[in-house]
Amino acid sequence: MFGTIEFEELTKTYFGGKVPAVRGLTLEVSKGEVLGLVGLNGAGKTSMIRVGGGLILPTSGTVRLNGFDIVEEKVKASASVGWVPEFPNFDPRARAWELLEYLGGYNGLSGPSFRASCYSLLGKVGLAGCEMQRLGSFSQGMKKRFSLATAILARPDNLLLDELLNGLDPEGIRYVRELIFSLRKDGASVLLSSHILSEVENMADRIAILHNGRLLKVVSREELEGSTARRLRVRVVEKEADASAYLSSVGEVVREGIYLTVANPTSEAWQINDELVRRGCKVAEIRIEREDLESLFFRLIHEAR
């Protein structure tokens, strides 16, 4: 299992659309790598994945899977990829095993042993006992699990996972995490888009941040862990407006729930604390944090705006 996914100068504009959903995006997922894809709604993540899966055509640029162009060499390229959509939709009248067997037919899989492996696969993804059930009776989470089964059915080298974690229960999330690690170990390349930044941070080797169809930054796990960027997290219980006004003078202030956070403050934490106390603000909590994916994400999005 040795996969590669390459996006080269990919642009996608939908029919009748004025603004491209993806603009000149170049990105590569190497073999044995998990690349996280994060971005706000409309950033272009799903469009990028759908072009990669051969579901929609690129307006310009190319996508190659294991070196095969998804448009020009669709059959060879698709043979190496498994895709899980954000909202899986299957024929509601089809039975689970029946549809798996049907879809496997496109990969040249058939026969009694394959049918047995379909049953076993359904068990692996947590759908044991649902083999004869019609897909119309599946919950969204069950559809997600079934979709995962269809994606790994032919043991593809590459996986395109669009918001796979959405709709999964904690057991499902743990299963997906273990599956992704095991696929990575086997040399598969995985492109994983998610809004759950902490999970992406946990699973991905590199993370691509998208905004308005453009690639803002690709950051590696090492870079993220070794980040020198700092932020100050302060909780003030009295005179919060005064505190906020002062903090604005030492850095950019963002309210996060009960906290005021200052990105890369220009003063030391103790100096800030002294000044807040001098102004009569009651500081309940103050701490310095390393910039995590969430902070980096919002900083980059803010800068891009």
Binding site: F15, G53, G54, L55, S78, W83, F90, D91, G105, T150
Partner: protein, 272 residues
């Protein structure tokens, strides 16, 4: 199960298609069971009885087969495309063209099987009532005519699925297409004939020429050719006088059964 057989079975198992074929067959059965004993009692010739059976079957199935083609194509392809169900297949190792060809063939084969079963049943009923079978050439003409109608309307629904995005719009437009070709068409042609004052062979000529451009009337013009009469009532002595020719029939049949599908095939390969 082989994926191709699965598609055919899905098209055949569709409740809408089954219901439509059963209701059409019941209607046709009623027509034959009422009409044939009457003709036999009158002592009409076997040609007249054959003509009645063939035209009766042609009119009833010719009206409803386009609807079954529409339902089969919608359930097999258009709905799956509009609702995103087709995506699960499109991401497999198959080209867009092969996918659309496979589904269209499934609709055509399912239609071929159901039309054959229906005609077989009607032939058996005619045999029970009259002790002779329908002329094999007429059965073949009915079969070809109805199959072209099913393929044409199926192809039109495939095409609509690539023009419109929502399942509702495809359904609505398919209904409009059916009503236009199966009902309104003759009203328009009748108005034209009345307005221009055409009569006799000239009126039939206009009707035949118009029918070339109407997939819902393909069975009618094929039967006009094999039966040498228009709708069993107007005898036709010269095909050329009414604009009927083998070439015209072949062009119309091939054009309607393949034309909409070929445009769909092009769109499927070139557009999302």
């Amino acid at each position: 199960m082989n994926r191709f057989l699965y598609d055919i079975f899905r098209a055949l198992q569709n409740r809408g298609v089954l219901l439509m074929m059963c209701l059409t067959s019941l209607l046709c059965l009623a027509l034959l069971l009422i009409g044939l004993p009457h003709l036999m009692a009158n002592g009409d010739s076997s040609d007249v009885v054959n003509g009645f059976a063939v035209n009766g079957i042609g009119i009833v199935y010719g009206f409803f087969v386009p609807l079954t083609g529409i339902v089969a194509a919608y359930e097999t392809y258009a709905k799956d495309r509009a609702t995103g169900v087709l995506d699960a297949v499109l991401c497999r190792p198959v080209t867009r063209g092969d996918l659309v060809v496979g589904r269209f063939l499934a609709v055509v084969i399912a239609s071929a099987v159901s039309i054959a079963a229906a005609l077989g049943l009607m032939d058996a009923v005619v045999n029970i009532e009259t002790s002779f079978f329908i002329n094999p050439i007429d059965i073949a003409a009915l079969y070809v005519g109805l199959l072209v109608e099913a393929a044409a309307f199926g192809g039109l629904v495939f095409l609509l699925a690539h023009v419109f995005r929502s399942a509702g719009t495809v359904q609505g437009t398919s209904t409009v297409v059916f009503v236009l070709f199966s009902i309104i068409w003759y009203v328009i042609i009748a108005v034209i004939i009345l307005y221009t004052g055409l009569t006799g062979p000239d009126a039939v000529h206009t009707l035949v020429i118009a029918d070339y451009f109407n997939p819902a009337q393909f069975t009618t013009i094929v039967l006009t050719f094999t039966e040498h009469s228009f709708f069993f009532v107007l005898p036709i002595n010269s095909f050329s006088a009414v604009g009927l020719s083998v070439g015209g029939l072949a062009a119309s049949g091939l054009g309607w059964s393949l034309g909409p599908f070929l445009i769909t095939y092009y769109l499927a390969r070139k557009r999302d």
